[in-house]
């Protein structure tokens, strides 16, 4: 991952031009191709069925069973489908509606916050080049690698009166993911010609105006990639949430943890899996709708 990688997005996975080129191969390799054309899709489908089909099939059929049948999860169909009854149960017992809004309450401000503060800082960090700025930049991106001090975060939040609050959780997530945004955006800003800014400046625009009108619109694709990654992490996080807001605020992963840990000796697999299905749907639907954008966004940032 280098600065130039962000400037020139790698071709997307679904680039059809490559296919046309490879299909005009020299005759030497053409002899083997008919066999490969049959075998390769079969291998691909076999991998999907074995590695993904089996686990997901088990989740769906078990979520449709009653407690006795789901006691030992297997691949058999339920004798009597009651998926919707189970989903209704977890909506109540797992407090899914408050959990959904709790997750949103934490995720949306965190993501918007890191995007705004991160791109503001990145713009200046990319444009100014003093020793101090280089140090600030190095410190700002160190969080990509270094793990957050999860225990003392709780202590600090208690001292400043934010323990167990959504605001405290938002602050923790922002502190964790600002580095990612700063890293992505600074690399990108360096590829934007300064002349673009200067043109606006000659027309009398101040720094805020230049940032909002010139820089921010250009950051779109980079910020989209960062948004996807951070949403993924924050929406699914349970570790930091357990420390900061566990027991005080509902989020989807926290409530899943509670549902799964509550049956001490007898795990209610039908409810756990019904919960997992409902909980995964928002991100899955988003992913299915935007898969092309998401996939090309993630890959363009990673490879030179």
């Amino acid at each position: 991952m280098s600065v130039s990688s962000i400037a020139t997005p790698a071709p997307t996975v679904t680039d059809s031009e490559e296919v046309r080129r490879t299909s005009s191969r020299p005759p030497a390799s053409r002899r083997r191709r008919p066999r490969r054309r049959v075998v390769q899709p079969l291998v691909a489908l076999a991998l999907v069925v074995a590695l993904l089909g089996v686990p997901f099939w088990m989740v769906v059929v078990t979520a449709g069973k009653d407690q006795a049948e789901a006691f030992s999860p297997n691949l058999a169909l339920p004798t009597d489908w009651q998926l919707f009854e189970n989903i209704a149960t977890v909506f109540g017992d797992g407090r899914m509606v408050p959990a959904f809004f709790g997750s949103l309450l934490v995720m949306v401000p965190s993501v918007l916050g890191v995007l705004l503060l991160g791109s503001m800082a990145s713009w200046v960090l990319a444009r100014r080049s003093s020793r101090v700025m280089a140090i600030v930049y190095a410190l700002a991106i160190s969080g990509i690698v270094l793990p957050p001090a999860v225990v003392t975060i709780v202590l600090l939040l208690r001292q400043i009166g934010l323990a167990g609050t959504a605001l405290g959780m938002i602050g923790v997530y922002m502190g964790m993911y600002l580095s990612t945004v700063v890293f992505f955006v600074t690399g990108f800003v360096r590829t934007i010609p300064v002349e673009l800014e200067e043109a606006a400046r000659v027309d009398g625009a101040g720094p805020v105006r230049v940032f909002v009108r010139i820089i921010l619109p250009l950051l779109g694709p980079t910020l989209a990639t960062a948004t996807i990654l951070i949403c993924l992490y924050v929406w699914n996080d349970v570790f930091y949430a357990l420390f900061v807001i566990g027991g005080r605020l509902d989020t989807l992963p926290l409530n899943l943890y509670q549902v799964a840990s509550s049956g001490l000796y007898l795990q209610n697999w039908h409810l756990i899996f019904a919960y997992i299905i409902v909980m995964s749907l928002p991100l899955l639907v988003t992913f299915m709708v935007m898969q092309r954008k998401i996939i090309s966004g993630i890959t363009s940032g990673a490879v030179k």
């Binding site: 991952m1 280098s2 071709p11 997307t12 996975v13 679904t14 680039d15 296919v19 020299p26 390769q40 899709p41 691909a44 991998l47 999907v48 590695l51 993904l52 089996v54 088990m58 030992s72 999860p73 297997n74 503001m120 713009w123 200046v124 080049s129 003093s130 160190s142 690698v145 270094l146 793990p147 957050p148 001090a149 999860v150 225990v151 003392t152 975060i153 202590l155 600090l156 502190g175 600002l178 580095s179 800014e197 400046r201 720094p207 940032f211 993924l232 349970v238 570790f239 357990l242 989807l252 992963p253 899943l256 899996f273 995964s280 899955l284 992913f287 299915m288 890959t299 990673a302 490879v303």
Partner: protein, 313 residues
Amino acid sequence: MTAPITARRTAVPALRSGTAPRRPGGRRQDHPAWFIVPALAVLVVFFFVPTVFNFVYAFTNWSSFSSQISFVGVDNFTSLFANGALVSGLRVTLVYAVLVAVFQNVFGLILALVLEADTRVNRFARVAFFVPVVMSALAVGYIFQALLKPDGALNAVLSAVTGTEVTTAWLGSTSWTIVVVALIHAWKWMGLSMLIYLAGLKTIDQDVLEASRLDGASWWQTFRTIRFPLLAPAVTFNVATSLLGSMNGFDVVQATTEGGPGGTTELLNIFIFRTFGQGLFAQATTMSLMLFVMVAVLAFPLIRFLRKREDVL
């Protein structure tokens, strides 16, 4: 991931070329420093101060049992070392991270090679393999806990295939369960590695491959001598993210084994969560500090090594 190296590389040339032709005063006003202040404030309060606290409270007796916090020197370190928790925590975390990095990259690369051609089936399979990446790691852990039970679905499938009754307790072995949980972690993230490798494969110049094909190179020769070396940037990214990410792992292991059997899968984060729950805050802080030190010590040489490898190749 590779940020610190990149930072140094790009900052130095910019220092010379950027400022020289312009008046420094004008430049400063154009990019006011106060734009950095809000981000820096959040970073300082929620990231740097807790990290500094880590270095302080690891040397205290902070717990839920005493109202006063006082310094106790290196007592936490010696007691954690004496009861074996320190060494075993570091070892388990490191073994787990290495296993995850190996499995995730091998699976991701194999998937990328199998699904490389742009056919309809492959496009579907790529999207399918990305589904676990989008899912919660905790949910993935619970799914596999059910799947791997002695009377679970995996043993049922294996029994049907082999014709004999299989009742392996996949999550019950003190020596092999760590491999199984690392496989689960790799299963969850292999779709991401696959995508990165696919993108890397796409960037390889078709003319080079054409030339090797005309020279009569086999698929394996082409892969080993041309394509894999040219994948170096993708390898750097994937190895660094999987290794460092899994050192910070928690969800999958908590959902499958909770650190068991016999503490053989107790990652540092699992230990931290458990001792924190017991009110032993100073011990949890000490382990958190050890995690920080381990990642810091390993991350920078690792990234430098991977970067150097890219240059050589």
